[in-house]
């Protein structure tokens, strides 16, 4: 591993080591570019992943304080935890459930497809689908996505058999074990899935793709990576011409450090990415970096989610098996006759104990609440993953009333749901309930909306600089050598779980950055 000097002005500094940052670090270092990778969390390993759900949550989750507001259910049900993502080397790829579907061509033209909807700030992507598809193919090979290339599908678990039977009864056609970034055979020096059901706690097999044990060690082996753990970026600085030239961060001892930079890429998950840009205000950029459009932090999307549980009179043991390996894709269409625009996916889901009563069930206590748990063996689970609509006022802002450990204002997450969001959730819950009822469920329980795990669009790509923060390569409209490299850049969320798209865009961005560097443009 390289030791890059604090004053080395030739280094690319990447903030965050997850799907976007970790992939970008590998792509740049393998091209001979020196990279300092700042990660706020610690480094875990397959051995150190805790197998106690509560401990694993604490081990991996970003738990620094945040606040929230708005009318979404999360504000009521999980007031101290608006979003659930990771603070660890590998970022959220450590706890993700590895669903890796592509966006559909029409989803990249959301404004054109859905029209000018009141209360929404839709735009079309500045990238054509064909262009993105080239990188999807590379990403799918890199990540070992099932049912693509030579990677077979995952076998059907008990929980999936229930889902499959219900979906087929309803007439759904596109039902399978999903496009999962989980090895179904030995590949890439990693073993195959042994159906542990502990995807969210960190896959101790390493069968699930995570930058922690793929891209990052590969980047280290180039000799061009300087990974600094427990290094929390607090500010990006710029020179007199307005070009960024350093990242200020706190190291593990809380000591302030300053790393000089030729170029800065921010990939801290959509909440912290927006916060870091806003924290980096200066006389030249009084509203924060890359924010002349006033779009930083706005249009926050988190995708429509929610649990549906079916209680049967026979055992299912839903916890046995890959957590999310199952999908119905028939509802990923834009059919306004359903009462909303955009599509949604019906995905398989199981939760461990105690996560089920803590996160998966509607608030409650007493006999009725307990009776659901009494049926834990006979419980099957589903999850909605749908497209939510961007709204200008759904945004990340700095809350100066609450400070983090370094005395800096924390992020506030504000979400008011659009009527379209509610209509989609209701439709999805209805269809999922029908699936279970069609095969004899004794009872269907509609769970709450959990803390958001898909945080997107807070520094979105836009053709017109007034509509977003970056161009089609994630390069900020305002500052040429400042890039955004995570889910913040998605122009709209679509219905696909976002990691594959984040990786594809990071691969594409790496091509662009290295070409521009060679051409002397950066």
């Amino acid at each position: 591993m390289a030791a890059i000097d604090f004053k080395d002005e030739s280094a690319v500094v990447i903030v965050g080591s997850g799907a976007g940052g970790g992939t970008l670090a590998h792509e740049l270092t393998r091209r001979g570019i020196k990279v300092v990778l700042l990660e706020a969390g610690k480094r875990q390993s397959l051995d150190s992943f805790s197998q106690v759900p509560g401990e694993a949550f604490t081990q991996l989750t970003w738990l620094d304080p945040r606040t929230q507001s708005g009318d979404w259910g999360v504000a009521r049900d999980f007031p101290t935890l608006p979003v659930w993502h990771c603070k660890t080397v590998g970022g959220t790829t450590v706890h993700w459930t590895a669903s890796a579907p592509r966006l559909r061509p029409w989803e990249l033209r959301a404004r054109t497809t859905y029209g000018n909807l009141a209360g929404a700030s839709l735009i079309d992507w500045p990238i054509a689908y064909d262009e993105l598809e080239k990188y999807y193919k590379i990403a799918e090979l890199r990540m070992g996505v099932t049912r693509r290339n030579d990677m077979p599908g995952l076998p059907a678990s008990n929980n999936f058999k229930v889902m499959y039977a219900g979906a087929k009864k309803l007439g759904y056609k596109q039902v399978h074990t999903g496009h999962m970034a989980i090895n179904s055979v030995i590949s890439d020096g990693r073993g195959y899935c042994i159906q542990q059901g502990f995807c969210v706690q960190g896959c101790k097999m390493g069968a699930k793709w995570s930058t922690l044990y793929t891209e990052i060690p590969d980047a280290e082996s180039t000799g061009n990576l300087d990974l600094r753990i427990e290094s929390a970026a607090t500010r990006i600085e710029h020179d007199r011409e307005g070009r960024v030239n350093a990242v200020v961060y706190r190291d593990g001892e809380g000591k302030e450090q300053r790393q000089k930079a030729r170029l800065v890429c921010v990939a801290g998950n959509a909440i912290e990415t927006a916060r870091l840009l806003l924290l980096s205000e200066s006389a030249r950029y009084p509203h924060g970096l890359a924010n002349s459009s006033d779009q930083v932090g706005r249009n926050y999307c988190h995708q429509i989610t929610g649990f549906v549980w079916g209680i049967f009179d026979k055992p299912i043991y839903s916890w046995r098996g890959a957590t999310l390996a199952g999908v119905v894709e028939d509802e990923v269409v834009n059919n306004p006759e359903r009462g909303f625009v955009g599509g949604y996916r019906i995905e398989l889901l199981a939760l461990d104990l105690p996560t089920l009563p803590l996160v998966g069930l509607p608030y409650g206590w007493g006999r009725d609440f307990a009776s659901i748990l009494d049926n834990y063996r006979n419980l099957a689970g589903l999850f909605i993953n749908g497209e939510d609509l961007p709204r200008p006022e759904n945004r990340i802002t700095l809350n100066s009333n609450v400070k983090d450990a370094f005395g800096l204002p924390v992020a506030n997450v504000h979400v008011d749901e659009h009527a379209n969001d509610r209509a989609m959730r209701k439709h999805a819950q209805g269809q999922m309930s029908k699936m279970y009822e069609a095969i004899g469920a004794k009872r269907v329980v509609l769970g709450p909306v959990p803390p958001a795990t898909h945080n997107l669009c807070t520094a979105r790509m836009s053709a017109d600089p007034r509509d977003g923060v970056t161009n089609a390569w994630g390069q900020t409209h305002d500052v040429k050598n400042l890039f955004i490299s995570d889910g913040s850049v998605l122009s709209t969320p679509g219905a696909a779980n976002p990691t594959l798209t984040i990786v594809a865009l990071a691969l594409r961005q790496a091509d662009y950055i290295s070409q521009q560097m060679k051409a002397g443009e950066l």
């Binding site: 509560g54 499959y164 074990t177 307990a370």
Partner: protein, 199 residues
């Protein structure tokens, strides 16, 4: 083929073996309360408890025995599973006691809340306990007890045994050969919509 999972990746653990929040027992030499009980033969706990150990006792650092009994009754009212051992609910009380021992403010909230329910709370019937808790549902005391009950009760080995939950499986080779696809009351999924079971 490269081996991704090399010694370096496996060995670089930085997580403390001693997570924060373990109260230092030496600071609380004055134990104020004690909860005790017996394990019923044939119960879920008896299945997992070491054979001779049929009695359990939990000493409390911040709370009295009476307060402990009130909290235990509250936990059972919040999450009533009739055949689940008292010992599982006692672990909830121990967790609340540990927080109360660490944090003076929590201690005041818990003690005042328990006092509000009255000394006879644990002895009243379930409908009276439900009514009493409904009245204070919005209080910090109730919300603290509810959250701790869910966090602790459903994570105990007793609860795992009771609900049939088998927990982590990595140490036993996953569920691949231990029933992940043993459901037989529905049709099998065609291979083209699933995939081969690796062997």
């Amino acid at each position: 083929m490269r081996n991704r999972i090399d010694k370096k990746t496996r060995g670089e653990a930085t997580m403390s073996r001693f997570p924060d929040g373990q109260p230092d027992r030496r600071q609380f030499l004055k134990t104020t309360g004690l909860l005790t009980g017996w394990v019923a033969a044939g119960s879920s706990l008896a299945l997992i408890a070491p054979a001779p150990a049929r009695a359990w006792a939990i000493d409390l650092a911040a709370l009295t025995s009476a307060e402990g009994a009130t909290l235990m009754a509250a936990a059972r009212t919040i999450a009533p599973h009739d055949k689940l051992e008292d010992a599982a609910y006692a672990l909830v009380v121990r967790a609340i006691d540990a927080e109360a021992a660490k944090d003076e403010r929590i201690r005041k909230v818990v003690r005042a809340g328990a006092a509000g329910l009255g000394n006879d709370f644990a002895k009243t019937d379930e409908s009276a306990r439900v009514a009493a808790l409904k009245k204070i549902e919005a209080s910090e005391f109730f919300q603290t007890v509810r959250l701790k009950t869910l966090q602790v009760l459903y994570a105990t080995p007793m609860a795992y045994a009771y609900f049939g939950y088998e927990g982590e499986a990595f140490s036993r080779g996953g569920y691949l050969s231990r029933g992940f696809n043993d459901l037989r009351w529905l049709p099998e999924v065609p291979l083209e919509d699933s995939g081969p079971v690796p062997s």
